[in-house]
Every structure is written in C-alpha cells, then in structure tokens.
Symmetry: C2
DNA sequence: AAAATGATGCAAGTGAGTTGCAAAGTTTAT
DNA sequence: ATAAACTTTGCAACTCACTTGCATCATTTT
C-alpha cells in the first residue's frame, strides 16, 4: 500500500516525505472531497502551511484536483487513474446543502459543450448543489 | 427605463432606493458578470457594505445570480427574463484566463444531469475556464 | 407628530488562503 | 565522511474578500 503511494509520488517527481505520504493516504481513503481544514483536523500535529503546500504540490502534479464548491473552502480530491484533469475526462461535483459534503460524480462525464465561436475550454469547475442520497 | 427598473424592484418587494436603482442599472448595462469591487469602483461614493447588502437583497429575490468563477471574487449577473435560477434554466459561465472576465453563456442550457439515485439538484455553479473569443 | 420600520455608512471583525524566514532534514559533490 | 547546496517544514504574520454591529438617517405607518 505505502509502496504504491510512494511510487505515485516518485512518478511525479515529488519526494515522498512522511508528511506527504500521510496526506496522500488520507486523501486516498476519502470518498469525498476534503478541505485544507479537514486535513488539518486529521493531522493535528501538522502545520497548516505545510499541508497547504503539500496540496499545491499534489495539485500541480495532477495527483489531486481542487473544487470550489461554494462553501468558501476549496476542496481537494484524488484524480482517478488516467484523470489528467483535462476537459476530456472532466466530471461533475455534487455539494449537499444538508450535510455540506462534496463528492466527485466520477461516473458522469461532462458532455462536450458547444462554446461560442473561438472560445477555448481549458479547465472547468462544475458543481451541482442539492440534497445527497444519504440526507434525502 | 428607470421606471422599468423601479418596477422590477417593486415586483420583488424591494424598496427602490436611489442606490438600488443605480446598482440595478449598472448591472443591466454589463454584458459580463461583475464583482462587488467592480461596483465599488463604479460608484466611489457608495459604501462597500451597502453595495454588499444590495447585492444580497437582489440575489435573494432572484433578480441576480452569483457565480464563483475561481478568482476568489464572487461575481454577479442579472438573471434573464424568466430565469428563476432553478435547475431548469441553468446556464454555463465562462471565465477567460486571459482577460479575467466572466460571462454568462445564456444561450447554452445545462443539460439534464442524471444524478445518482435519490440525489436532488437545487442549484448549480458551472464555470468553464479558458480563452474567450476576443482574447483568442 | 410620534413611533416603527428599513436603509445606509463607518469601523471593526472573521477566516481562508498565502508568504517570509529560519530551523531541520536531505542530497550531492568533494 | 564532511561540507556545501538544496528542499521541506513550522511558526508567525499578513492579505484580502467578505461579513457584522451599531449608530444615524430616511421613509412609512399609526
């Protein structure tokens, strides 16, 4: 397990420090997108700025992607195998207004969107808000 | 013109004060979504918190809708006639990475999204990022 | 005309995100 | 193996958008 995570980092030229492995492991275990603060709470010993920089590092290497779900807390979630966070394999996110959790709806691909002439899509942030299955 | 704006407010049980009419007029004249600061700059005499509350009032009455475009500045744009900001007439937004402007792509409706079982959609925040036609 | 209600402006607070810098830990070259 | 170079980490402090409390002013109701 840890070997796998370690490789994931090495493959992206990220030094697999203890901290980074812990954060990556934590992210792997979630079935929802988490905020910097969620991670802070999970690792009370760790410093906010270290975690912040760790997340930015992961994000730059496309190991995770971030979602602005409207809560004011940027959320992070693991990219799936092959997810290059490019328009092609973009997915929707769902934010539950009740439990306040944000999930990746990875099974639903965003359809190709017919943009106006000359517009070029580079990234997207798609958040659907409502009530999730558990809270319903 | 002003009469029309005044009616728009009255129809939504909002007192048409001078300030509110000015802000509504300003919003009507834009072809892009604007931030609180954009409005602050347009009306140097007005106070930030007044403008803030004005926007919240408009938003609550569904006269305008807000978009988180990832810039860290919440943007506001007029709802179109009949736009109730409900899932049905939801549209995409486009944020240009070059000129940093955010537009409503009102001509493109968001398709019905097949959510997981028991999930209920209430609102959405759809932002496509890239290069707009003018900057291309 | 007085009381109640609502809008506005100022100042100050909140809080997520971010940065500078020094200390600790790693790697590389000698 | 050791010193020099580089990277990561932790602390503190800062930024900046947004938000709130409260007193004042305006408007509406009684």
């Amino acid at each position: 397990m840890n070997k796998k995570l370690e490789h994931k980092l090495k493959d992206n030229s990220i030094k697999p420090t203890a901290m980074r492995l812990l954060v990556l492991k934590f992210l792997t275990e979630q079935n929802k997108a988490v905020s910097l603060q969620d991670i802070e709470l999970a690792f009370e010993r760790a410093d906010k700025s270290t975690l912040f920089r760790t997340l930015k590092t992961f994000e730059n290497s496309k190991i995770i992607h971030s979602i602005e779900d409207g809560t004011g807390h940027l959320k992070y979630a693991l990219c799936l195998e092959g997810c290059s966070c490019s328009p092609i394999d973009l997915h929707y996110h769902f934010h539950c207004n009740m439990c306040k959790e944000t999930f990746c709806l990875t099974e639903l691909n965003v359809p190709t969107i017919e943009l106006p002439k000359n517009f070029e899509m580079q990234q997207a942030n798609m958040v659907i808000k409502g009530i999730c299955g558990t809270c319903k």
